[in-house]
């Protein structure tokens, strides 16, 4: 799926990105993987938090050795630019003049401190599209509160829906959950804005709030409160319209299979698959209401069966019988999952510090213009000279002088 076709959606599109943590890189991916030239401005003076996050290659810390950073940053260019230097804003002006899009996801106030506002950018490039994507949005009482995915998920109420009855609310397993939600909404809006610019010649400011995008993932519950006054109640793995509906222990250490039964047909099929067809005739378990009443007992019986088999066996036996079931896959399973591998979720590329290393690909496949793994994640400042001299047209002597003045630290 990767490579093959050479057409690129964003051929010729230039994006300058001031990014932090995960929302920035995931947003850049959608553009860079489809052919845009994405220039990430960063500095060793204050490296992105991902560059100083575990795991490191061979457990040795280093700005270019973080597995976290390098997993998410293929296909982009890294321009080292010390924003505290006196020439920084002039460099940003030069970048802006060549860019179609400027994007950022800092806490509001950071870009302003550097003098980079929509007005500033528009003066340089009238049709620029400026995409801002902070935790709470650029205005309001919370706008300058630093936020990251774990606390934004709480702010969005998500842990209300996770946990056992009477127990504590729990974070979702990928704790920075909102980080993968916001980029999808932001990039959808950005593509629409680019299309509009191509047709009208007008740019715009897009101001996305990560919190607001995350709320669309609980929208039915927001309406349930508005019209019925209902607050969520933690219900473990039980489901109002399906029973059994839970996660069952299988052979091995911490191995589980999820099973969900939506109707009588699936219930009979499950009973037969477990070698207990007589259970299907047991009146106590007929209909959803009967099974819900005896859920604990049913779960015990299913567990007794599943615990004698591997999760993969349970999955394939039940799926063959027409019962929704799936192995509770851990990171090793995902890494080795044949279906995901075939669809190109990970791109193995040689990285100067990481060696052969899996970079994240895309979640979907375009038949005509597939995402392309072109270059591994950049070393910090790897493309500084290229961007300055080739893209911005700086002379070699100007570049050397700026470098000597510490502009590119």
């Amino acid at each position: 799926m990767v490579g093959g076709v050479n057409k690129k959606v964003f051929e010729g599109l230039v994006v300058t990105s001031f990014s932090w943590a995960i929302v920035g890189p995931l947003s850049m991916k959608y553009l860079a993987d489809y052919g845009a030239t994405v220039i990430r401005v960063e500095t060793a003076k204050r490296p992105c938090t991902l560059r100083i996050s575990t795991p490191y290659k061979d457990n040795k810390a280093g700005l270019d050795r973080s597995g976290y950073f390098n997993h998410f940053s293929s296909n982009i260019l890294s321009l080292a630019l010390n924003m505290e230097s006196t020439q920084a804003l002039e460099m940003v002006s030069k970048l802006t003049a060549k860019s179609d899009v400027v994007m950022e996801n800092f806490t509001p106030g950071v870009m302003e401190k550097w003098g980079i506002t929509y007005e500033f950018l528009k003066n340089i490039k009238p049709d620029i599209i400026f995409l801002r994507q902070s935790g709470f949005g650029s205005q309001g009482p919370n706008s300058r509160q630093p936020a990251f995915g774990m606390i934004l998920a709480a702010m969005a109420g998500i842990p209300n829906f996770i946990g056992w009855p009477g127990g504590e609310p729990l974070p979702i397993g990928v704790s920075a959950y909102t980080d993968c939600i916001s980029p999808r909404f932001a990039i959808s809006a950005l593509i629409a804005a680019l299309d509009r610019r191509n047709k009208t010649g007008q740019g715009q400011l897009l101001d996305i709030s990560q919190l607001e995008t995350a709320l669309s993932f609980i929208a039915p519950a927001l309406l349930d409160y508005e019209v019925n006054g209902r607050e969520p109640v933690r219900q473990g793995n039980s489901h109002p319209a399906m029973c059994p509906h839970d996660v069952y222990p299988c052979l091995g250490d911490d191995r589980w299979c999820a099973i969900a039964v939506a109707d009588e047909k699936q219930w009979y099929a499950l009973c037969s698959a477990m070698g207990k067809p007589d259970l299907a005739g047991d009146e106590r378990f007929s209909e959803l209401s009967g099974r819900r009443r005896h859920e604990t007992e049913i779960n015990h019986m299913i567990s007794a069966w599943t615990s004698q088999h591997s999760a993969e066996e349970v999955t394939s036996v039940l799926q063959a019988a027409g019962v929704p079931a799936g192995t509770v896959k851990n990171a090793a399973d995902i890494y080795q999952d044949p279906q995901l591998a075939e669809r190109g979720l990970f791109w193995k590329m040689e990285h100067a510090e990481m060696g052969q290393f899996s970079h994240l690909g895309q979640g979907f496949i375009l038949s005509g213009t597939p995402a392309q793994a072109r270059t591994p994640s950049p070393l910090l400042g790897e493309h500084t000279e290229y961007v300055c001299t080739q893209l911005l047209g700086m002379s070699d002597s100007d570049f050397a002088a700026a470098a000597a003045a510490g502009v590119f630290e």
């Binding site: 964003f10 995960i22 995931l26 959608y30 204050r46 575990t54 806490t107 949005g137 650029s138 309001g140 009482p141 630093p146 606390i151 709480a154 702010m155 109420g157 829906f161 996770i162 946990g163 729990l170 974070p171 397993g173 704790s175 980080d179 993968c180 999808r184 909404f185 959808s188 715009q204 400011l205 996305i208 919190l211 709320l215 669309s216 993932f217 929208a219 309406l223 349930d224 019925n228 473990g236 793995n237 996660v247 589980w256 299979c257 799926q319 027409g322 929704p324 509770v328 896959k329 990171a331 995902i334 995901l340 669809r343 979720l345 899996s358 994240l360 979907f364 375009l366 038949s367 213009t369």
Partner: protein, 408 residues
Amino acid sequence: MLNNCRALDLTDEKGFLCGKILADLGVEVIKVERPGGDEARTIGPFYRDIPAPDHSLYWWAYNSNKKGLTLNLESGEGRDLFRRLAAGADFIIESFKPGYLDSLELGYTDLVRLKRDIILTSITPFGPEGRYRDYQVTDIVSMAMSGILYQTGDLDTRPVHMSLPQACLHAGADAAVGTLLAYYHREQSGEGQQVDVSLQQSTAWFLANAIPMYELNQIVSRRSGSFRWSMKSSQRQVWKCRDGFVFFNIIGGRTGAKTLFELVQWMESEGYQDEYLHNTDWERLDMFAVNQDVVDRISRPIETFFGNHTRAEIAEGAARRRISVCPLSSMQDLHNDRQLAVRDFWTKVRHPGLEEDITYPRSYIKSSVVDYKIDRPAPQAGQHNQEIYGSLGLSAEEQKALSLKGVI
């Protein structure tokens, strides 16, 4: 934006969000239902807890701004009508079983003959090919197969599932991006294409650092409940407050020093003096290296402080002092939230047939040139039949006849 485009949305609940995002951005999205209405209209909860076809809040949430059309694809006449609609569409979004549209002779190769540059977006549990192709899923199965479920819950017991469906939203939002990528390409090149979205893959797309953690160190990220994963010591991320819970990580070093400094200032301003907290150099604190004693000495006074404050007090203080701490919001908290109010997040939507206007989450986009809003609530089954079939040239009598035959 995009208001010259039309999408035919054939999805079930696996794909609603895709069309919803396109509709919010200005595309004319026509939700095509079978005569009598979509199965997803039976998904609860319901308006005033009264189950009725136009009362499903799930339906409301993810189909607003769309128009509604009924059409029976299983009938020959229905397929003919669909072909006429497809000839005038930019996007077709579907989430049928792999191969279903082909079996109706409405697959991509058929559609291309009707509209050379059509974009067909297919949302399936695992993709159109491969060993899991025909697997049946519900949300708990998709979340299991995509790696998030395993990491959710406490390690001493089984993984716990988020009770609101999520995998379909990851896929739906990804499908919107994919569809628009294809559209952007079409506008440059005149070429259409297929967009193939898998619930498993879109959901597995973001597992934070779990994949590099496994690849580099062969460490499988596990569940850690209310505590942070992969720390040498036990570090809380869920804390009790007077009327609920607070989410907060103690992060040292440059990333978290400012928050800790400001939090301690706040505590001291209210008389919560603690010598250890006062004297700690937060820039030098490495939470990956600290022992349990240090964690406990930092945590105890913070725990007391949170325990004596309400969610509202913590939310207000954290916002004012710019501290990375958030209480767990109730739905009422969100309804009353000042930040969301300033951003015009809520809007009233008039529903035909209901006496009251309904408060909706408005939009996630603030644009300097376009006002994003909800123009219409989710459609009733066939609400726009007359308008759309009329535009194909079908008279009222012809429509009535087709309706009686169960075609529309």
